[in-house]
């Protein structure tokens, strides 16, 4: 794996970023660094401030305060130079309506000051599995195909950093996994990828590090594993068993018991000890344990702990 954080040099340095719109502080003091070759994710619900943060780092919007350096260049002063070296896929596919897929590739390459021949444009479309749609207008493409074309447009200038804003929003699972493979391929080439998402599984599956954003603030920043490790005391064991709640609450490691119908849910900070004791109690009392499940904490739980609500709320 190319990602070597924290040894790799930072290609994005954001310090105390603030951006307000009338009546709302969209970004409220966010700071983070992104290392070269890293897949970095900003995770948060709609309206959290992810896209605004990204658009400032892309040199499209100006911050009210704070500093941003991308590839060693200060923004917004060096925005044109930065834009030449980055690729951007927006949340909306943002395609010109009356140009074919291959024409869009050729046009955008020229907007980045590059000449691109037809064969190369087709090869780029083939990379996103759209070579058979080279002559198609955007309106005739499916949502997933439009997203892939938008990704191809983000690659026309061989960018060192690629920004993907909600790249899989609205896609079916197959198209989503296909796009994940593309992102991993880009990272394997040594490119840095920064993406926003409100899908927990996407952040967990793709990103080397995740920044959790809500209300314009960066609430946590670490690898998915490290974020989840902070919630080790939140593993849960569920089973269908007729055991008294006070008996379950006395099991080692258990700090919370919830019962609903015939099911019990034990919150524990020591899964092996709790399971062992639970099996012993059930054997002694002649009670069978049905549908026994152990659930590790997830990013969803991390988000819940940080914000007090679900990301889908």
């Amino acid at each position: 794996m190319i990602y070597q954080h924290p040894i790799s040099r930072p290609v994005i340095e954001v310090e105390h970023l603030v951006k307000s719109y009338p009546g709302v502080k969209a970004v409220d003091g966010i700071s983070f660094h992104v290392a070269e070759g890293e897949i970095f994710g900003l995770l948060g619900p709609n309206g959290a401030g992810k896209s605004t943060t990204l658009s400032i780092v892309e040199g499209v919007r100006r911050p009210d305060s704070g500093t941003v350096r991308v590839l060693g260049l200060d923004l917004p002063a060096r925005a044109p130079a930065v834009k030449r070296r980055i690729g951007v896929q927006l949340q909306s596919t943002s395609l010109l309506p009356d140009l074919t897929a291959v024409e869009q590739i050729e046009l955008f390459a020229r907007l980045y000051g590059r000449t691109i021949n037809r064969a190369t444009a087709l090869a780029l479309l083939a990379r996103v599995s759209l070579d058979e749609k080279a002559s198609a207008l955007p309106a005739t493409l499916s949502g997933g195909q439009q997203q892939r074309l938008a990704l191809a447009l983000a690659l026309v200038n061989d960018p060192e950093i690629i920004f993907l804003d909600e790249p899989t929003a609205g896609l079916d699972p197959q198209a989503r996994h296909s796009l994940w493979d593309l992102v991993r391929g880009l990272c394997a080439e040594g490119r840095t990828v920064v993406l926003t998402t409100h899908y927990m599984e996407e952040a967990e599956a793709l990103c080397h590090r995740i920044g959790i954003v809500d209300g314009g603030k960066l609430l946590a920043l670490d690898t998915p594993g490290a974020l989840i490790t902070t919630l080790q005391g939140r593993s849960s064991i569920t089973t269908a068993a007729a055991l008294p709640a006070e008996t379950l609450a006395a099991l080692p490691g258990v700090h919370d018991v919830q019962t609903e119908g015939g099911n019990v849910r034990l919150q524990t900070d020591d899964v092996p000890a709790t399971i062992g004791a639970l099996l012993e109690v059930a054997r002694r009392q002649g009670v069978s344990l049905r549908d026994l499940h152990v659930q590790q904490p997830s990013l969803e739980d991390v988000f819940l702990q940080l914000t007090g609500r679900s990301i889908r709320a």
Binding site: V88, L111, T120, A123, D158
Partner: protein, 265 residues
């Protein structure tokens, strides 16, 4: 930069001069190509003036010899109206690009967004000039309207200025209304009275005196009077600087206001 992200075969960095100048030209060509491909919009923009001309031709036949020739009066008005409608296309383009996020994507490129908007406007000017030329040729060859050939080159210049003026007006309307439908209606709602009061379809001297006081200051009057003189006499009207400077001032005013008010998202 990591060697693993070296340029792919077939792409190369262009010289900096090309990077700053050529992209806008490429964008103009792309918008022209897209404009020609959008056949419904193209046909509507072309057939509307042709249809108007045909209607006036059919309904004004049999007039008294030596009397007021309505068709000769209205023909330059229809040619002017053809390029005025370029503003309507501008309204639709700006509105749809804003709704579809095209401006947001273009803003991510190194080319300043204002340059790309100007490049798109240039494409629209070229398209509307071709449409006006088709209307002129149709008028001469099919309807038999006498046109002074010597006036056509200057008329093309005035039409270019007029198209730019009404594209700027379309940009202003698109800046004021957030929805495409509202902006399109607002443009038509204002252009029709401007045309009716602006010596385009109706002789202003046959309208109430108050209209005669307002009419010379309207951009529609300025363009229609210039085009009428050029197509019928082959020369500019008396005191041509007033309408020419007026059109230029309106263009600057509309452009400045739209640049100040337009929001691309």
């Amino acid at each position: 930069m990591n060697t693993a992200i070296a340029q792919r075969p077939g792409t190369q960095a262009a010289p900096s001069r090309v990077a700053t100048l050529a992209p806008t030209g490429q964008f103009t060509l792309a918008v022209l190509r897209a404009g020609v491909r959008n056949r419904v919009a193209l046909a509507t923009a072309l057939f509307t003036p042709l249809f108007m001309l045909a209607i006036f031709w059919l309904t004004t036949q049999g007039g008294k010899p030596g009397g007021f020739n309505m068709l000769s009066f209205i023909f330059p008005g229809i040619v002017s109206f053809t390029v005025m409608m370029a503003g309507s296309t501008q309204v639709t383009r700006l509105g749809s690009w804003r709704q579809q996020g095209v401006f947001g994507r273009l803003a991510c490129t190194p080319v300043p967004l204002g340059q790309l908007v100007l490049a798109a406007a240039l494409a629209q000017v070229l398209l509307s000039l071709v449409q006006a030329l088709i209307v002129v040729v149709f008028g001469i060859l099919v309807v038999g309207i006498p046109v002074q050939p010597l006036g056509i080159p200057l008329a093309a210049g005035v039409l270019t200025l007029g198209a730019t003026c009404f594209i700027a007006y379309g940009s202003l309307v698109a800046s004021l209304a957030k929805r495409i439908e509202t902006a399109s209606l607002l443009f038509i709602f204002t252009l029709l009275p401007l045309s009716m009061l602006g010596n385009t379809f109706l002789p202003v001297d046959q309208l109430p005196p108050i209209v005669g006081a307002i009419s010379p200051w309207l951009p529609t009057t300025m363009m229609a009077d210039l085009i009428r003189a050029l197509l019928t006499t082959g020369t500019l009207p008396a005191a041509p600087l007033v309408p020419l400077a007026g059109l230029l001032l309106y263009t600057i005013l509309f452009s400045a206001l739209s640049m100040r008010l337009f929001r691309w998202e």
